[in-house]
């Protein structure tokens, strides 16, 4: 069986500028932050990012990596708005495709199951259709009702962060919500899973229910062991969101000078060092 372990650098080496990249997690929860930082340090650019957005979107926008954001919201949960996404939008610096969050799921699901579209009511009557003029409706062949045809959201690559995985790509969420990470993997040509710990396969279900294995190896291209890899977003039960560091991120974003200091220190400087998880939850 294939050993799919790789490094974050390996992952970035398989990405190309101009790609459509799906990023798992939700808001400021279980985001693949270590892989996002790898992208920040790379020369990748012109990305289309599909995300239930949080600081992943903010950081990539701040670094000028993004051409287009496909989203339903961008939020840091305990802080309502991401400052960089907000700035990028208000400067007109990024294109957007803004969908109802259920439409986003439908688009990923359609791509996952190789359908061109899935019908929905969500979006009808709203300005989602006004500002996404490519959207079409479809007539129910049985009843004649005219529904919105949410097109498949095909991803060139997906990155997600999970609590555990084995070296073959079977991956596990241990927190309260799997989010849509398995759909991101299925919708993508290549799917990369970072995780807190790579463990032997048998270890995955020693104490956890098999239903926690939403992502399996046939859906995964590579596995990266990245302890603290979701920090400062939450990765329960391994750690909670680092609210102090999230506040520092938002504060630094208020001014180009303080943001440059933040970026040098934590992201892209020669000695950049992302802080360790501080609120580890005891096992």
């Amino acid at each position: 069986m294939a050993d799919k372990r790789m490094t974050g650098t390996d992952v970035v080496g398989r990405l190309r500028s101009g790609m459509t990249l799906g990023i798992g997690g939700w808001g400021s929860r279980r985001k693949p932050m270590a892989l996002v930082r790898e992208i920040l340090r790379s020369d990748l650019t012109d990305l289309t990012v599909v995300s239930y957005g949080g600081p992943d979107v903010g950081l990539l926008c701040a670094a000028g990596k993004v051409r287009k954001v496909v989203f339903g919201f961008v939020s840091l949960d305990s802080i309502a708005l991401d400052p960089h996404f907000r700035a990028a939008r208000q400067a007109g610096a990024v294109e957007v495709a803004e969908y109802d969050e259920g439409m986003l799921q439908w688009g990923l699901y359609a791509a996952a199951v190789k359908l061109p579209f899935l019908p929905t009511r969500a979006g009808l009557g709203s300005d989602v259709v006004t500002y996404n003029p490519h959207l079409r409706t479809v007539s129910d062949p049985y009843d004649g009702e005219e529904l919105l045809a949410m097109p498949a959201l095909h991803l060139d690559a997906a990155i997600v962060h999970m609590n555990r995985a084995d070296l073959h790509g079977n991956a596990q969420f241990l927190g309260p919500d799997p989010y849509f990470d398995d759909l991101y993997c299925l919708a993508a040509e290549q799917a990369f899973v970072s995780c807190e710990r790579i463990v032997p396969t048998a270890e995955l279900t020693r104490t956890a229910h098999p239903a926690t294995l939403k992502i399996n190896r046939m859906m995964v291209t590579g596995v990266v062991e990245a302890p603290g890899g979701a920090h400062f977003t939450s990765c329960v039960p391994d750690y909670e969101r680092d609210e102090d560091f999230q506040r520092a991120y938002v504060t630094a974003a208020a001014d180009p000078g303080t943001w440059q200091e933040f970026a040098d220190r934590y992201l892209t400087g020669p000695d950049a060092q992302w802080p360790a998880v501080r609120q580890e939850i005891p096992a």
Partner: protein, 253 residues
């Protein structure tokens, strides 16, 4: 509960029971409330007159019980509802949501996405989130903590939640706008789909509400005064649901 003194309700407390009343008669549905006072409202409703409501812990579980706002949810887990299941429930329709719009127009179109030119907004907000799907799938209400002409506008900049005039065809079938509760008044919808003044809170005049609304609000006959909380409801709010008075930060007295 016993009460020995006659209590005077604050505006925030009037708003809380007005929010609770929006869920009266809803039965066994998911009651989703954004904001402090709506959260007090749905918990009050469930604790008293609407016991079958189902309420999230804010993460991925539905809990029984009654817990204060601003504190971790405590109660018996009765369901696992990750976002994927929530989305199913939204489209299934057994849900009543109360959202906080940044703009609302005279037919209940609501904006939570962006203010100004959509392609280069003056202010980027959250994004449409689930508002388009919510508003065409299940009962939807709104909470406006600061009723003003900035919020109640003649035309919203981006329609996220669908109003009565735009809900046609398949968007009409399950479209069901209920109420807009504000710090000044309760609004509902007239037969023509326009926002109508249902009641003014004690101490507020009809003219004050009209002056704080940026479009002609429908007014039919004498406008009643919003009800006061009962003494038992006041005690529940003050001692159980919001002992730290977070409600006063949302609607100052």
């Amino acid at each position: 509960m016993t009460s020995t003194v006659t209590k005077t309700a604050t505006r925030a407390e009037v708003c809380a029971v007005a929010c609770a009343d929006a869920f009266r008669g809803n039965g066994e549905v998911l009651a989703s409330a954004f904001g402090t006072i709506p959260a007090i409202g749905v918990r009050l409703a469930r604790h008293t007159f609407e016991p079958d409501l189902m309420i999230s812990d804010g993460e991925a579980q539905l809990l029984r019980g009654t817990w204060p706002v601003g504190a971790p949810a405590v109660g018996e887990v009765e369901a696992w509802v990750p976002f994927r299941t929530i989305f199913d429930l939204v489209w299934h329709g057994k849900r009543h949501v109360m959202m906080i719009p940044s703009q609302v127009d005279g037919f209940g179109n609501a904006n939570i996405s962006a203010i100004g030119d959509y392609h280069r907004p003056k202010v980027q907000l959250l994004g449409v989130r689930g508002a388009p799907g919510n508003s065409v799938s299940h009962p939807t209400s709104y909470w406006v903590p600061k009723h003003s002409v900035r919020v109640f506008v003649s035309k919203v900049d981006m329609v996220a939640g669908v109003g009565n005039d735009r809900a046609v065809g398949a968007a009409r079938r399950y479209h069901d706008l209920r109420r807009v509760v504000t710090n000044l008044a309760v609004l509902d919808y007239a037969d023509d789909g326009s926002l109508r003044l249902a009641s003014v809170h004690p101490g507020v005049t009809v003219d004050e509400v009209l002056a704080a609304t940026g479009f002609p609000l429908t007014v039919e006959g004498d406008v009643p005064t919003s009800r006061l909380p009962t003494d038992d409801e006041l005690q529940l709010i003050r001692e159980v649901l919001d002992p730290d008075s977070l409600r006063d930060r949302e609607v100052p007295s």
